[in-house]
C-alpha cells in the first residue's frame, strides 16, 4: 500500500514536508505505548497512535518506521514535525479513532506483519 492510499482511506492531513508519499509501506501497528512498540514491533513501517510527543518520532526512527498516523485528530507541534522531517518519516493526521483507523487499513490490505517474539 502506498502512503497516498492511507491519506485517502483515512482522510488524512499531511503534516510533514518530506519523503515520498508514493512510498510503499507493507505493514502497520497501532499503539499508545512506545514501550510496547519497542518490544513487540518487528518490521512494521506504519505506526498509528494517539500519543503525541517527541518520543513517538524517536521510537519510529529507532524501529525504521516510515510513516506515523496520529489518530483522534491529535495535532503534532512544529518541533515534532521538524524532528520527523529530519528523520525522513512522513507524519499524517486523521480524525478517525485508533480502532477504526486500524480496521480501515487492515480491511484494505495493510496487514499487521510478524510480531517480535518476547524472550
Amino acid at each position: 500500500m502506498k502512503v497516498t492510499e492511507i491519506v485517502k482511506l483515512l482522510n488524512c492531513e499531511i503534516c510533514t514536508d518530506c519523503g515520498d508519499i508514493e512510498r510503499e509501506v507493507n505493514s502497520a501497528c497501532g499503539s499508545d505505548m512506545m514501550s510496547d512498540v519497542l518490544a513487540f514491533v518487528k518490521e512494521q513501517s506504519v505506526l498509528l497512535t494517539g500519543l503525541v510527543n517527541a518520543q513517538v518520532v524517536r521510537t519510529a526512527e529507532m524501529m525504521d518506521m516510515r510513516c506515523i498516523v496520529f489518530v483522534r485528530g491529535k495535532q503534532p507541534d512544529e518541533a515534532l514535525i521538524k524532528m520527523a522531517e529530519e528523520a525522513d518519516i512522513i507524519v499524517l493526521k486523521t480524525k478517525e479513532r485508533l480502532y477504526q483507523a486500524c480496521g480501515i487499513l487492515y480491511h484494505n490490505g495493510l496487514r499487521g506483519g510478524e510480531a517480535c517474539s518476547a524472550n
Binding site: 505505548m33 512506545m34 519497542l38 518490544a39 521510537t59 526512527e61 525504521d64 518476547a118
Partner: protein, 140 residues
C-alpha cells in the same frame, strides 16, 4: 591495524523531549560507516531504551559506543539511585516509572528485558545510592 571508532555522549536527564538524541546520532553514524542495517537497528533500539531509562530514573548519564571489526559495544553509566533488585527489574512488566512517564508512553517495564533481547551480551551492575552500569554488545 585500524583503530576502533569511539563515540561519546552526555545524556541530559532534565529534558524528556530531548531524550533519544544520542541514540539517534549513534544510529546515523553507524549507518554512514556502513554497519549492516539489522545491526544498526539492534544497537539503536538497545541504546535508546537505555538512554530513556537514564533520563527517567537517573537524571542522565553517559553513553559510549565502540565499533570494532565485528562487534559494537555500548556502555551506559549513570550516577542515579541504583537498582535494589536487578532480577525484579529484568522482569517484563515490572516498572518503577512515575505516573507522568507512563502518560508519555513509557514505563511499561519492557526496557531492560528489551535491551537484553536485542543484544548478544548484556551485563548490568548497580549499587543503591551510587548508580548503574550497563555494557552490551552486538556482533555483526
Amino acid at each position: 591495524m585500524t583503530e576502533n571508532i569511539k563515540l561519546h555522549y552526555d545524556v541530559d536527564g532534565s529534558d524528556f523531549t530531548m531524550a533519544g538524541e544520542a541514540s539517534s546520532d549513534a544510529k546515523r553514524v553507524l549507518k554512514k560507516i556502513g554497519i549492516p542495517s539489522e545491526t544498526v537497528r539492534r544497537v539503536a533500539i538497545a541504546m535508546y531504551e537505555g538512554e530513556i531509562n537514564m533520563v527517567i530514573h537517573a537524571d542522565g548519564g553517559t553513553a559510549d559506543i565502540e565499533i570494532g571489526e565485528h562487534t559494537v559495544t555500548i556502555k551506559l553509566v549513570d550516577q542515579g539511585p541504583g537498582i535494589p533488585n536487578i532480577e525484579l527489574a529484568m522482569q517484563e512488566g515490572w516498572s518503577t516509572a512515575p505516573e507522568e512517564v507512563r502518560n508519555l508512553g513509557f514505563g511499561a517495564g519492557m526496557g531492560l528485558p528489551n535491551m537484553k533481547k536485542y543484544t548478544d551480551t548484556f551485563e548490568i551492575t548497580s549499587e543503591v545510592g551510587v548508580g548503574t552500569k550497563v555494557i552490551m554488545t552486538v556482533n555483526f
